[in-house]
Structure formats: structure tokens, C-alpha cells
């Protein structure tokens, strides 16, 4: 080290000698980044050929005149420009380009510049994520990332979204991508305890080369999340506070609910229900008309507060944040409250050789959700009550649980559905509290300038507590009592129950890595070897107390528990516990080669071992190969000066998946799937034990995906037009399949590595164009769009002549789509008799159909095209941004509508007003079949309620004002902005229901995603 210092010193003297020669002087300094000095950074005097590179300690020396500008560049860093003034020393801290979200991408475990990347990656940065009012960051990303299909499954704040990257890859296996947070492959099930405002960037790795180093779990793509950090450099402290207040409301459906009078009249005509007992005059005078949707849903309020402190220093920097988020769901009783704390600390030794970080995130959330959403429990699912409650019922009649029980007994019971659910609003509690502690650490040491050793140790501890209560003497407690309808204070049994569940999950990850890079002239090579150990375990205990004393019961205190009696077994408490564990051990290595930054090659291999399989099948190897050609660097492109970046890249490789079945990571071994498992079961027959058999597939092994990808990246016209295009083809082999097996074997299906395979191929394009870029006017208008087209193809099914039928109306056929709809065309109403008409398999119109008339439709619930587009507009501090999202060719059954069109619901539930126009002998030209059509049941096999759920949606609209700096000069504030925004504002869709967005084949009484309006404020000081 000393010798190098001398060498610099020498040079300096030489320059000094030249000082008088011209007005040029010698400028020196150190170029560094947050991890320490940067060797090999380019320092060029702008507009000249004078240039140098930094030495191993980041030092540079260059001749420059006062007034000239130094441009310092380094791959992966944002270029810095320094005007040379009277001073002679300029230390420069280069910022990681990840901060800008444009030019750095992740390739396996490493970060490389976009120019040298061989991979297909989609990325968004904090600007897109910050201050959006979604509790779960994945909801915010919808429509931002080409080829990533994100679908909210429920309007419950913070709930997990369905994320499918480049199409569904497996029939039976888990389809979740792998989530990596700050280098830590983490829990995919739960994001509600993470504060989206802490996130610096989210990158989605899609192709083989990008995900291969996560090979063991990368089949479904990898989502890499990086949280915010400080930077090394001048000591500086920045505060930022942002706050939002908002309202959430239900999206508006296009269903026509019948009025109370209309329903009564229809009941009278149909001969069932309250309407029958009323005269026409009574009906005309009936003045109750309740909107039960309005009763069970509400305009929710939301608020959030974020305070963060970024502290920069020479050898240590930190990012600290505290946040509170509170969002009421649109459905009464539901909501999410969250408190998070994060502290990300980066440090380095004075000589820059040793660097480390420790990112600690703590999240605590309280989630009130209803577990009965989507069920048909009339006494459980609020949404069923909202959608189907008869409008002639008056909520003001409700007088408590016993009243509800009597009402249920004295009306056609199910008519009392809204009252039962009103009772549940007051008499039921479900609270899930989650504490999430994430620690991600890394320590690295530069052994030599070319060789770095790295250790990562990360852990997550997730504690979940659930408390569910059905209050004693609530309607449901009275109903399911051993003394139905008789409350304990009337001499009945002590009713109700309380559940207390605790779950603790621990995830641990340990990575050892050696990194070697070397440049020989124009050749640059990199070698990397890693060993990784991943461990996940959970332990759970559950208790249920039945029999609560209403006098003393207080939830979650144990007060009011009734003890078991000798005379009956009604109050026996139930206890259960569970534990499981999964391990992965992996070794992987990669090789990088670059020639003149024009050509690049990346190869990787990986070997994985997991505890999901029998010892012989635990290991699997994966590989990938990627290459690029930076065409813009070629001399023949010198003439095309409008081309800034033009790169061709391609990759091929394999990745694996060991999660045989959907569910948690533990589901594949509870029970073990590779053996016939005999599990003793309690109280199986006449009180004796039994043996449950879970049939296994002995040769179960890894499922793997073989994929290739070709893409092009470009930036034209000084970066005004930017984009990428990708073609991909991925095929899942040895695919996990719940293989239908002869029922005589003792089971209906067996999870196997099947001969069947799924192939997804398609195109992805992402574009952005700065339509207006007028710095003088402070005006900028950017248009951005992304779209992905996916084709999904099934092959290799051996059973049943290459077909698997799923339930009644879906099939997967060799050569066809995954879960293609398989129905009989519904063609309308027979004018002669009001019966439904269908097309039989021979194309004849008929009233009578069988399963043999079903046919494939070419329709599926997976979109063909999906993506988003929008624009960003800035003008003198005013800004506006929109994001539209779209999906096409999505078909789903509108089961909510089917239910409203079901005449057999008359007398108990409400219906659509169309039913009033049903066929009658005097009203023969109608599209609504006779209310008493004999073949209404044939609907089940038909496409009558199969609907196009494609949509274009104004997903997000923001308008705001950033107060110009000149107004803030005399205050402590450095930045101040206000914004107004809305989510899910407008839908353009044929779908009639509340929400066209859903990952399901059909929706029945599901919780729609809300429309959200917020006002926010953002201050930096």
C-alpha cells in the first residue's frame, strides 16, 4: 500500500512541475461508493480526450482547467459531473444506479449494469411504489412489469395477491415466485407486515440466466426486493415525513337488483315467499327498500404516517424509518393496522476492504378479516347477505340474537339471512396479529483487489396470533347449541366458542461466497462460487374452548370458560399442535466473461438438495447460459448517433421447483408424498383408532423448467425512447400433477412427476417515451406501456386419452390450454315454452343435453394479453401520473349473477330485476327463460354465465404539486409536495360484477377490491 501512495506522490510532483506550463492544474481526488473506494472508474474531462482511471484505492489525478467539467463513470454507478473550481481536490461518491431505478439489474446473486446484463428483468423503483395506498406492495406493482400477472384475490387490506410470471407453470405445484428481500430468500405468503415505503426497488427476474442462481426455487420467477439505504460520503442527515389520508369504497357493479316492491310482486307471481300473502295494494304501498350492499359495506377510512431518517457518513450510513398504516376495509369489521420500524445500517472499514450491512425490519400488524368470504354459509358470509339479502327486510327490526333466532324459525329460515349476518357483525370477532422480524446481514472482505469473500446470514421470525370468537348466545351459538335457541341464562347450554392459535415460523439463510474478477486487457472475467443453506420451520399450537359464560366472558383473557362436565361432553376444550421443517442445501457457481463491453457471456451451474424427497432423489442440478451483444458499441454504429443503447441478449437454462403441492412450504411433507403413509387417526370407528392412508409416489423428484429467452434492449434519441422486447419459451418437465388414478387404488389422485408438461411462450414489450422534454419550460411528459402475450399449452397427459377433466366444466387436453372451459353453448329461450335452448354436440338446437354435448371453447381464465400503460406529466412543480392496467381473453363464470338470476332463490333471497321479464305465455320474446323452465338445471354444463372478464382499468391516478424550492429557501424544509390520488377509478369491461379482477374460475360472494381516494403530503428536511 505504501508503494502505491509513493507512486501517486511521484506523479503529483511531476504534474506540479508542469503547472506553470499552462493554466491547467492537477486535480486529484478519491472516487468511492457506499462500499468504499472504486478501482477502475473512468475520469474524463468533458469535451476532451483527457482521461484516466482510478487506482486500486480509488485515487485519480488528472489535468484540468478551472471551469472544465470532470465526468466520472463506473459501470453500475450513476455518472457524476464535477465543475473544476479553484480547489484541487474533488472526492466523488458515486451513487448506485439502483437508486435511479434505470440502469442496474440483478443477475442471479449479483448486480450488474443494464448494459452488461444478459438477463430479462423487469423493475420498478421507489418512485412508483411510494405513497400508493395499497397495504401490500404487490398490488401496487400491478400493470408495471411486463409479463408479471398480478391479481388481487380479495379486497381485504394487505391480503396476498396471485402473482404469475410468464404463465402458469405447473398443474399441482405451488406457483408462487420466490421473494428475495435484501438478499434473503424469504416468506412468500405474507407481505402485509412490510411497509411499501421502505422499498427502494422491486425487480422481477424472469429468464433462465437471471433466476438460475435461485435455481432450486426459481421456476416461477424471482422477485427481488431491496430496501432503502443511506450512502457513504459527506456527513448529512435527511428527514422525510409523509402522510396520507384516504377513503375506500366499493366498486360499482352493473347488476340490476330488483326493488322491494318488484321482488314482492315476483314472489306473488311465482307463488312463494312474503309476496304471496300480500295484496297488490299492500305491495304497492310497501315502503321498506333496503340496500343490503350498502348496509354491509361502508366507506372505509385510511391513514398512514411515515417518518424516515437517512444518515450519511464516511464509513457508516443508515436508513431508519417508522410507519403507521391503518386501512378500514370496505366490508364492515375488516381492516388492517400496521406499525413498522426499519433500520438499515451500512458500514465499512477505513481502508474500504471490509464492508458490512445489517438490515433490520420489524413489522406488527393487526388484521381483522372474515374467513367465510367466498363461502355459501348464509350465516357466515357477510357478502352473501349483502348481495342476496331481500330488500323488503328492514334492518331496523333487528333486536338481538334471540330475536334473530326466532325470526329465522318463523320465516322461511334463509330469508333471515341478512339478520343472521347483522348479528354476526356484533357477535363475532376474528383478529390476526402478526409480528414479523427480518434481519438481513452481510459481511464482505476484499482479500485482494480481485477477490472478495462474502458471508450472508439472514433470518426471519414470523409470529402469528389468531383469536376467533363466536360470542355466547350469538345467533350462530344459539343455532349450533346443544340446546338450540335456548340461551344459558334461560337454562340452556353455555354456547359459543373461542379459538386461540399461535404460530411461530423461523426462516434462516446462510450464504458463503467467493467472488473473483480480473481484467486482462480487453478481456474481463468473473468467477463466483457459493454455498447456501436454507432452513424453514414452524411450530403452531391451537386451542378451542367451547362453552362461554356470557356473564364474564372477555375475548382472549380466559375469563368465562366453562369446564367439562361428567354429564355431557359439550365443554371439552380441544388442543392441537404442529411442527414441520424444510431444509435446502445448495452449491452454485458462475462464470462471467466480457470483451470490450461489447460481448458478454454468463454461465452458471447449481446443485441443490432438499428434504422434500427420499434420500436418492434429493439432489438436482440446474444450469444456465446467457450471452449479449452490445451493438451500440460496434464501430459500424458510430454513424447512428441517435442510438444510445442497443443490445441483443439471450439465455437458456433450467430451474427447479420442489413444492410438489400448493400451500405452504411445509405442505409437501405433511404428509410425505413419496411413501404410502399410515397415519393413526383418532376416534375412527366405534371410538377406536384408525389408520388414514396417504398414498405416495416413491420416485418423486424435482420438477424443473427448461426455458430460453431472447431479448433486445434499446435507448434512442438521447434516452427519450427506451424499451425492451423479449420472447420466451418455458416448458415444465417432470411436472407435478395430481395425477388422476383409478379410485379403486384407494385414492382419486396421486401427486407424481408426470409425463404431462406445460409450455408457456410469448412476447413481452416494455416502452417509455419522453414525448415532451423541455427543461427550459420545466415540462416533461412521459408515456410508458408494457404488454405481454402468453400462450399456454398442455401436452403429455397419458390418462383418459390425453385429457384431464377438472370438475364439471374445465378440461386440460393435450394441445389445449390449461383449464380450458368445456361447456355447452347456450343459445337462448324457446319462444314456444320458455325452456332454455342449447346447441348439442352435432350443432342442433335442443332443450335436452347431456355431458356428451360439452365441447372445448378456446377460453380460459388466464389472460392472453396483459399489461399496463400510463403517462407521467410534470410542469413547473405540478405533476400527474396515470396507470392503466389491462387483461384480455379472461373468461370466468359470473356466479354472483347466476345466483341473482336463479328463480329458486325467490322467497328467500333477492334476484336481478331481469327476472321480472322472464318468459311467460304472453311474453315470449325475452332472453330470460321461464321461471319454471324444466331444464334450468342444464345451465350447469352450459356457458350461459361464462363471461368475458377482460378489462382496462384506470388503476391509479395521481395529481400533485411540488412546491418550488424558491418558496422553501427560508424554511427548514427542502422539499414539499402534495398529492391526490385514486385507485381503481374506472373500469372498461363487459363484466357485470363488482370487480373484474380475480384469479379464480368463478366468483361467488367474494370480497371485491376497493376504489381508494387519498390525499397525501410529503416533506423532506
Amino acid at each position: 500500500m505504501r508503494s502505491k501512495f509513493k507512486w501517486i506522490f511521484t506523479l503529483l510532483v511531476a504534474f506540479t512541475m508542469q503547472f506553470s506550463f499552462a493554466q491547467e492544474k492537477t486535480v486529484t481526488g478519491v472516487v468511492s461508493d457506499e462500499l468504499g473506494p472504486i478501482a477502475g472508474a473512468n475520469v474524463v474531462v468533458e469535451g476532451t480526450t483527457r482521461g484516466t482511471t482510478t487506482d486500486f484505492d480509488g485515487n485519480y489525478t488528472i489535468k484540468a482547467k478551472q471551469g472544465e467539467v470532470l465526468v466520472i463513470t463506473y459501470t453500475g454507478k450513476k455518472a457524476a459531473k464535477i465543475s473544476v473550481t479553484a480547489a484541487s481536490t474533488y472526492n466523488v461518491s458515486l451513487k448506485d444506479d439502483v437508486v435511479e431505478g434505470k440502469d442496474v439489474v440483478i443477475q442471479g446473486y449479483r448486480t450488474v449494469t443494464k448494459q452488461s446484463a444478459v438477463t430479462s428483468v423487469a423493475k420498478v423503483d421507489s418512485k412508483t411504489i411510494e405513497n400508493r395506498p395499497n397495504a401490500n406492495v404487490m398490488n401496487t406493482l400491478q400493470g408495471q412489469l411486463a409479463g408479471v400477472n398480478i391479481t388481487a384475490s380479495t379486497g381485504q387490506p394487505g391480503a396476498k395477491s396471485s402473482v404469475i410470471i410468464r404463465g402458469i407453470g405447473s398443474f399441482s405445484a405451488n406457483g408462487d415466485p420466490l421473494y428475495v428481500i435484501d438478499g434473503f430468500p424469504s416468506n412468500s405468503d405474507n407481505f402485509r407486515s412490510i411497509n411499501p415505503n421502505d422499498i427502494e426497488s422491486v425487480q422481477v427476474l424472469k429468464d433462465a440466466a437471471a433466476v438460475s442462481e435461485y435455481g432450486s426455487r426459481g421456476t416461477n420467477g424471482v422477485i427481488v426486493i431491496k430496501t432503502k439505504t443511506g450512502t457513504f460520503g459527506e456527513s448529512k442527515t435527511t428527514f422525510r415525513y409523509s402522510s396520507q389520508y384516504g377513503l375506500t369504497e366499493l366498486q360499482t357493479p352493473k347488476y340490476n337488483f330488483i326493488s322491494a316492491r318488484g321482488l314482492l310482486a315476483l314472489e306473488k307471481e311465482y307463488g312463494t315467499g312474503l309476496g304471496v300473502s300480500l295484496s297488490d295494494a299492500d305491495i304497492a304501498a310497501y315502503d321498506v327498500d333496503t340496500d343490503w350492499v350498502d348496509y354491509f359495506f361502508r366507506t372505509g377510512q385510511s391513514s398512514s404516517h411515515n417518518l424516515s431518517v437517512e444518515n450519511n457518513g464516511k464509513n457508516i450510513n443508515s436508513f431508519t424509518s417508522v410507519s403507521y398504516f391503518d386501512q378500514e376495509g370496505t366490508l364492515k369489521t375488516t381492516g388492517l393496522k400496521r406499525f413498522t420500524v426499519r433500520n438499515n445500517l451500512n458500514g465499512k472499514s477505513n481502508n474500504g476492504k471490509f464492508t458490512y450491512y445489517m438490515n433490520i425490519g420489524v413489522g406488527f400488524s393487526k388484521n381483522n378479516e372474515d374467513p367465510s368470504i367466498g363461502t355459501t354459509g348464509v350465516n357466515r358470509n357477510y357478502i352473501l347477505g349483502a348481495y342476496l339479502g331481500a330488500p323488503y327486510l328492514d334492518p331496523n327490526r333487528y333486536q338481538g340474537s334471540t330475536w334473530t333466532f326466532d325470526e329465522y324459525n318463523n320465516t322461511p329460515g334463509l330469508l333471515a339471512t341478512p339478520y343472521m349476518l347483522m348479528d354476526k357483525l356484533f357477535q363475532y370477532r376474528n383478529l390476526v396479529e402478526e409480528t414479523r422480524l427480518n434481519v438481513a446481514t452481510q459481511a464482505a472482505y476484499k482479500i485482494t483487489n480481485d477477490l472478495t469473500a462474502r458471508i450472508r446470514t439472514s433470518a426471519e421470525n414470523l409470529t402469528t396470533f389468531r383469536n376467533q370468537v363466536e360470542y355466547p348466545n350469538s345467533f350462530n351459538a344459539l343455532l349450533f347449541s346443544n340446546t338450540p335457541g335456548v340461551a344459558s341464562f334461560d337454562g340452556g347450554a353455555f354456547n359459543g366458542f373461542e379459538d386461540i392459535n399461535n404460530r411461530r415460523e423461523f426462516i434462516f439463510n446462510n450464504l458463503y461466497q467467493l467472488d473473483y474478477t480480473k481484467q486482462f486487457g480487453n478481456h474481463k472475467i468473473g468467477l463466483n462460487g457459493s454455498a447456501e443453506y436454507n432452513f424453514q420451520t414452524f411450530q403452531a399450537d391451537n386451542q378451542r374452548q367451547r362453552g362461554l359464560n356470557p356473564q364474564t366472558f372477555v375475548p382472549n383473557t380466559g375469563a368465562g370458560y366453562i369446564a367439562d362436565l361428567g354429564t355431557n361432553d359439550w365443554y371439552v376444550a380441544q388442543a392441537s399442535a404442529g411442527r414441520s421443517r424444510v431444509d435446502y442445501i445448495s452449491y452454485f457457481g458462475s462464470f462471467d466473461y466480457d470483451y470490450k463491453e461489447k460481448y458478454g457471456l454468463v454461465a452458471s451451474v447449481r446443485s441443490d438438495r432438499t428434504s422434500y424427497f427420499a434420500a436418492d432423489n434429493q439432489s438436482e442440478r440446474f444450469w444456465s447460459l446467457g450471452g449479449r451483444w452490445n451493438i451500440d458499441k460496434e464501430s459500424f454504429m458510430d454513424g447512428a448517433s441517435f442510438v444510445d443503447v442497443l443490445k441483443l441478449r439471450g439465455s437458456i437454462g433450467t430451474v427447479g421447483n420442489a413444492r410438489i403441492v400448493d400451500g405452504t412450504v411445509y405442505a409437501p411433507i405433511v404428509p410425505v408424498r413419496y411413501l404410502d403413509i399410515y397415519q393413526p387417526t383418532n376416534n375412527t370407528y366405534n371410538g377406536g383408532l384408525g389408520y388414514g392412508i396417504n398414498f405416495g409416489f416413491p420416485s418423486l423428484k424435482w420438477e424443473y423448467t427448461k426455458q430460453w429467452n431472447a431479448g433486445i434492449d434499446f435507448e434512442l434519441f438521447k434516452g427519450r425512447l427506451r424499451g425492451t422486447y423479449d420472447y420466451y419459451n418455458r416448458e415444465t418437465l417432470d411436472m407435478y400433477l395430481g395425477q388422476p388414478v383409478t379410485n379403486t387404488s384407494g385414492t382419486g389422485s396421486l401427486n407424481v412427476n408426470s409425463d404431462a408438461s406445460l409450455r408457456n411462450f410469448g412476447h413481452e414489450i416494455q416502452l417509455a417515451y419522453d414525448l415532451i422534454k423541455n427543461d427550459a419550460n420545466e415540462m416533461k411528459l412521459t408515456i410508458r406501456a408494457n404488454a405481454a402475450h402468453n400462450t399456454n399449452e398442455v401436452s403429455g397427459i397419458v390418462t383418459n386419452n390425453g385429457r384431464i377433466q377438472h370438475g364439471t366444466v374445465n378440461v386440460s387436453d393435450n394441445g389445449g390450454m390449461y383449464y380450458e372451459y368445456y361447456t355447452i353453448p347456450y343459445v337462448g329461450v324457446n319462444e314456444a315454452n320458455g325452456e332454455l335452448l342449447f346447441l348439442d354436440i352435432n350443432g342442433n338446437v335442443t332443450e335436452t343435453v347431456t355431458a356428451a354435448d360439452q365441447r372445448k371453447t378456446g377460453k380460459s381464465f388466464q389472460p392472453k394479453w396483459q399489461g399496463g400503460f400510463g403517462l407521467d406529466f410534470d410542469y413547473k412543480g405540478f405533476f400527474a401520473a396515470t396507470t392503466f392496467t389491462f387483461v384480455t381473453d379472461v373468461w370466468r363464470f359470473d356466479t354472483d349473477y347466476e345466483s341473482l338470476m336463479d328463480p329458486t332463490n325467490l322467497g328467500q333471497f333477492t334476484v336481478a330485476s331481469e327476472l321480472a321479464t322472464a318468459w311467460t305465455p304472453t311474453n315470449t320474446t325475452t332472453d330470460v327463460p321461464s321461471l319454471s323452465a324444466a331444464n334450468l338445471g342444464s345451465d350447469d354444463l352450459s356457458d350461459r354465465f361464462l363471461r368475458d372478464a377482460s378489462y382496462v382499468r384506470l388503476r391509479n391516478l395521481q395529481i400533485g404539486y411540488k412546491v418550488p424550492k424558491r418558496f422553501l429557501e427560508k424554511t427548514f424544509i427542502t422539499d414539499l409536495s402534495f398529492n391526490l390520488q385514486g385507485e381503481n377509478l374506472v373500469n372498461f369491461t363487459k363484466w357485470k360484477g363488482y370487480d373484474p379482477e380475480s384469479p379464480r374460475l368463478e366468483d361467488l360472494y367474494q370480497y371485491p377490491t376497493p376504489r381508494i381516494y387519498t390525499f397525501g403530503l410529503d416533506i423532506k428536511f
Binding site: 311465482y270 307463488g271 312463494t272 315467499g273 355459501t376 348464509v378 329465522y408 322461511p412 329460515g413 334463509l414 482479500i447 469473500a453 349450533f480 346443544n482 338450540p484 446462510n510 458463503y512 467467493l514 355431557n568 361432553d569 359439550w570 371439552v572 414441520s580 435446502y584 442445501i585 438438495r609 428434504s611 434420500a615 434429493q618 411433507i669 410425505v672 404410502d676 403413509i677 399410515y678 393413526p680 370407528y685 366405534n686 371410538g687 384408525g690 389408520y691 392412508i693 388422476p740 383409478t742 379410485n743 379403486t744 387404488s745 384407494g746 385414492t747 382419486g748 390418462t799 383418459n800 364439471t808 355431458a851 328463480p903 321461471l931 319454471s932 324444466a934 331444464n935 334450468l936 338445471g937
Partner: protein, 513 residues
């Protein structure tokens, strides 16, 4: 530099060596393989218990009642059956055929393993060997029972030896096989050989005899009678029915005992029940217990019945109020319209609540509720009255009308609790009709009516189901008109379920589906 490298290598080596093999061992507490699970006679008993438990599926009696003329849409119907069983809308992916097929074959997979292991388990003592033999006999009887169920529901004609039944499960069948259906003849052969083997084992077995809730000798004999009757082999059926009546020691229940049999399961020993599938209070659950097949909560008017007793069946029962079956089938909490045919709101004003399973004599506080740890009905699989009914069939088949009437009269005497005049059948059709009608009352809601109409309907001269027009036209379910299910409909054989076809594409589907 070197120093650092070697430290790192040491560190990784330790990690690699110590972790690899041990750490990736599958963590699976409490999960046993067959080799360690089924070692003793106790283990065999447990596996057999699972077989019994799988047979307690309630689909067959519920499906039968709704598809035929026992039940109808109830006033608390939330869509159950109205577009399916009630209007005879049934196809390969329908729930009922799937559940009937699977519950029997899933049980058979356990039962065949018991039979298989009975040869290889080493007895701890001679007494233990006797116990193992007894378990083997129980398993053989259950195997015969499950095969007869499959044959009855899936064969187009139970009397035709050449007609197809189901898949013959006379051994442990592997998941990689695709077995085809075999004929009724193969089924009957297996059924009788299993029953004969079981009877010969039990004849000399010194272990405690199987109880009424276990596959016992009387049940084996009764099954032979039932199987011969299904086949139409009446001389043989009569031999075995007579044997059970004469030797079982099981007597027809008095009216009071009859109520105990269905409502509280506390009838005296050797009364009425030959074999039932036992259910315990701890197993009581809305999703699986018997009575919740027809109502959501309990078998009373406040118990949310989604199916009710069909009006036509009720009219027959109500004509003879002193017949205990009137009270056992129809709940006292029912709301009976005096003029049901002219009710504007028939569904709401005529509520005939079924309470044969777990009912109560007066009031609405039934034995059965859906509460946890509350009373849970046993499934009555075979009762002594069925033997009398088979006997009556045999006599009718022999043109002995008086003999048929005598057998029927024996049941009626018991059910009325007093001597009744024997019915008089003027011709053979009337005799068959008399048997079929008596079976309708006696075995209602126990899963017989579908099979009985299928095999006796033509003999009895009926044209189809006996549903009251109010139960379809009066409920706006015109598709439920019995003309839509004539006796020659293909729907008298259930479709081979899609779950089997998916695995076994070459399996022969019944005609029509």
C-alpha cells in the same frame, strides 16, 4: 490472503459435511410406512376401522331419497338438489355418483389391505390368531357389501349376469393400473365366495363374535339374501332370508323399540338391527353426520330442512296414523297444510320435516343436532324387516300371494304394535306392488328406494316415481315430473364418475351419459 481463504474453506467444509445428509432428512413426525404400521392384530383392527369409517358416507341414502319419491325440496332449501337430483339431472361429474363410487372403493382399498395382511401378520398367541381370523372374516363381509353397493348403483340391470357392474376389487389395486368393469356375474361370484369364506371362518372362530356394529354372521347371511334378491335368484334368497329370520335371534322391533332404533340408538340387544355402522358423539359434524344430509341444523322445523318428506309418501303415512312409521318419519314440529293443493305458497305453508334420523316424539328438541359432541346416528345398514321383505319377494316370485302377504303382515303387526289384517294380493303384479310399497315405508330414507324401483318397478306394474304434482308443479320445478324418469331411463344406472374416467379413460361408461 491465503490465510483468509483457508479459513473460509474450513468454515464451508464443516458446514457441508455436518449438514448435508442429516439436515435434508425429511422431517415427518408421526408418519408411518405400511411395514411398521401394520404389524399386529391391533394394527389390522385399526386399518379395518378406517374401512368401516369410509363406508359411513351418507350420500347413498340422501341421493336415493331426493332422486326418487321419498324427499322433496324443503322450505329452507338454499339450492340443494333443485337443479340436480330433483330434476334427475345427473352426469359423470355429479357429486352423488362420485361419492358413492369413491366411498366404496376407498373403503375397499383398506379392506383389501386387511385381507392381504391377515395372511402375513404373525399372531402373538393362538387367541390372537383367532382374532386375526375374525378380522379377516369381517373384512371379507365388508368387501362383499361394498361390491353389492357398486353393483346396485352402477349396473344397468342387477338381474342380468352379463351386464356390467363396476371394477372388481378382489385384491389391492395399484395406482398405476387401469382396471375395467367386470360383469355382474363376476361380482356375484366374488360376493358369495367372500361371504361363504367369512361364514366358515366365523362358524368356528373362538374370538368374541363381531357385535352388531361389526360385520357379523347375521349380516353375512343377510347379505347373501340381499345379493340373491338383487340377482332375482329367489330360491337362494329365500334360503338365506329364512336362515336369518330363524336363527339370528334378532326380532322385529315394537313401535317403542322402532323409535329407539332411529332416534336414540338405544334399542335392546337383538332387536331389529342386524348391522349398523357406528357413529360416536365425538364424530358428530354437520358435514358428515347422517341427519344433516337433509337439514342444516336438526331434524325439526327450526332445524333448517332443505329437503322435506315428499307429499305423496306423507299422504300414505298419514292415512295410517297408528303405524309407528308415520311418527318416525315425519317430525311432530311439521306444519301440515289441510288443503295443500290449494296453497298459494305451498313451499312455505306445508312443511313436512323428516326426522327419521335422530328425531323426537314431541316438540322440537331432537336427539340429533349439529352441535359438537352431540348425538350422532348410527347408519342402519341391515335390519331384520328387510329379511321379511325379501321373503315376501321370494313368495311373490313363486306366485304364492298369501305367503307374500304373510311376510308383509309380520312387519305390519310389529309396526302397528297390534295384529293387523294381512293384505290380500289378487295377482302377481299386486303382490310385487305390495312388496314394493311396503319397502317404501319400511326402508324410507335408508338408501333402498332407487334400487328397489330399478329392480321391482316393472314387476310391480308402476310407470315410475310416485311424486305429488305439488312437489314439482307446485314448487315451480316442472323438471321434477316423474314422466322425466321412466322406468326404462338410462339414469337407473349411475354414470361412472369423471374421477374414475380421468384416470381410466378406457373404462366402459353406462349408456346414455
Amino acid at each position: 490472503m491465503k490465510k483468509y481463504l483457508s479459513y473460509l474453506l474450513v468454515a464451508s467444509t464443516i458446514f457441508i459435511v455436518s449438514c448435508d445428509e442429516d439436515l435434508t432428512e425429511t422431517f415427518a413426525p408421526g408418519q408411518l410406512t405400511e411395514e411398521v404400521a401394520i404389524v399386529t392384530s391391533t394394527d389390522m383392527q385399526r386399518l379395518l376401522n378406517s374401512g368401516y369409517n369410509l363406508l359411513t358416507d351418507r350420500t347413498a341414502p340422501v341421493f336415493t331419497s331426493v332422486f326418487t319419491d321419498e324427499a322433496t325440496k324443503g322450505f329452507n332449501n338454499g339450492g340443494q338438489g333443485v337443479s340436480a337430483e330433483i330434476v334427475f339431472n345427473i352426469f359423470p361429474s355429479s357429486a352423488a355418483p362420485t361419492a358413492i363410487w369413491q366411498s366404496n372403493y376407498f373403503a375397499l382399498a383398506r379392506i383389501n389391505r386387511v385381507i392381504d395382511r391377515s395372511n402375513s401378520i404373525v399372531a402373538a398367541s393362538p387367541a390372537d390368531q383367532e382374532f386375526i381370523n375374525r378380522l379377516r372374516a369381517e373384512a371379507l363381509i365388508l368387501r362383499a357389501y361394498a361390491h353389492l353397493n357398486i353393483l346396485a348403483y352402477f349396473s344397468p340391470d342387477t338381474k342380468d349376469n352379463a351386464a356390467l357392474a363396476g371394477i372388481l376389487a378382489d385384491r389391492v389395486i395399484g395406482a398405476d393400473e387401469a382396471p375395467l368393469r367386470t360383469t355382474n356375474q363376476a361380482f356375484y361370484t366374488l360376493i358369495h365366495s367372500d361371504l361363504d369364506t367369512a361364514l366358515s371362518i366365523l362358524a368356528t372362530n373362538t374370538a368374541p363374535a363381531p357385535a352388531v356394529f361389526q360385520a357379523n354372521r347375521n349380516f353375512a347371511k343377510g347379505l347373501k339374501a340381499r345379493a340373491y334378491a338383487y340377482k332375482g335368484d329367489y330360491p337362494n334368497a329365500e334360503i338365506w332370508a329364512d336362515d336369518v329370520i330363524a336363527t339370528s335371534g334378532v326380532s322385529l322391533a315394537t313401535p317403542a323399540q322402532y323409535r329407539q332404533v332411529f332416534w336414540t340408538d338405544n334399542e335392546p340387544a337383538n332387536v331389529e338391527v342386524i348391522f349398523d355402522l357406528k357413529r360416536t358423539a365425538q364424530q358428530n359434524a354437520q358435514g358428515t353426520n347422517l341427519h344433516n344430509g337433509w337439514c342444516s341444523i336438526r331434524p325439526s322445523v327450526g332445524g333448517s330442512p332443505f329437503y322435506e318428506v315428499g307429499r305423496s309418501l306423507f299422504n300414505i303415512l298419514d292415512a295410517t296414523p297408528s303405524d309407528v312409521r308415520r311418527g318416525v318419519i315425519v317430525a311432530p314440529s311439521s306444519i301440515i297444510s289441510a288443503d295443500y293443493q290449494n296453497e298459494a305458497d305451498y313451499l312455505g305453508s306445508d312443511r313436512l320435516v323428516l326426522h327419521k334420523h335422530g328425531g323426537v316424539a314431541t316438540g322440537s328438541a331432537t336427539a340429533a343436532t349439529s352441535a359438537t359432541n352431540a348425538f350422532n346416528n348410527d347408519h342402519k345398514i341391515m335390519r331384520i324387516s328387510e329379511m321379511y321383505l325379501i321373503k315376501a319377494e321370494c313368495r311373490a316370485a313363486a306366485n304364492d300371494f298369501a305367503g307374500a302377504a304373510t311376510a308383509i303382515d309380520a312387519i305390519r303387526d310389529a309396526r302397528f304394535g297390534s295384529d293387523q289384517a294381512a293384505p290380500v294380493y289378487g295377482n302377481v303384479t299386486a303382490a310385487w306392488k305390495g312388496v314394493l310399497d311396503e319397502r317404501r315405508l319400511e326402508l324410507a330414507f335408508e338408501g333402498h328406494r332407487f334400487i328397489d324401483i330399478k329392480r321391482l318397478g316393472v314387476l310391480a306394474g308402476i310407470t315410475g316415481l310416485d311424486r305429488d304434482p305439488m312437489d314439482y308443479n307446485g314448487l315451480n320445478i316442472p323438471g321434477g315430473d316423474p314422466v322425466n324418469l321412466p322406468l326404462n331411463s338410462y339414469k337407473w344406472a349411475l354414470p361412472i364418475p369423471q374421477s374414475e374416467i380421468n384416470a381410466n379413460g378406457a373404462i366402459q361408461q353406462n349408456a346414455g351419459y
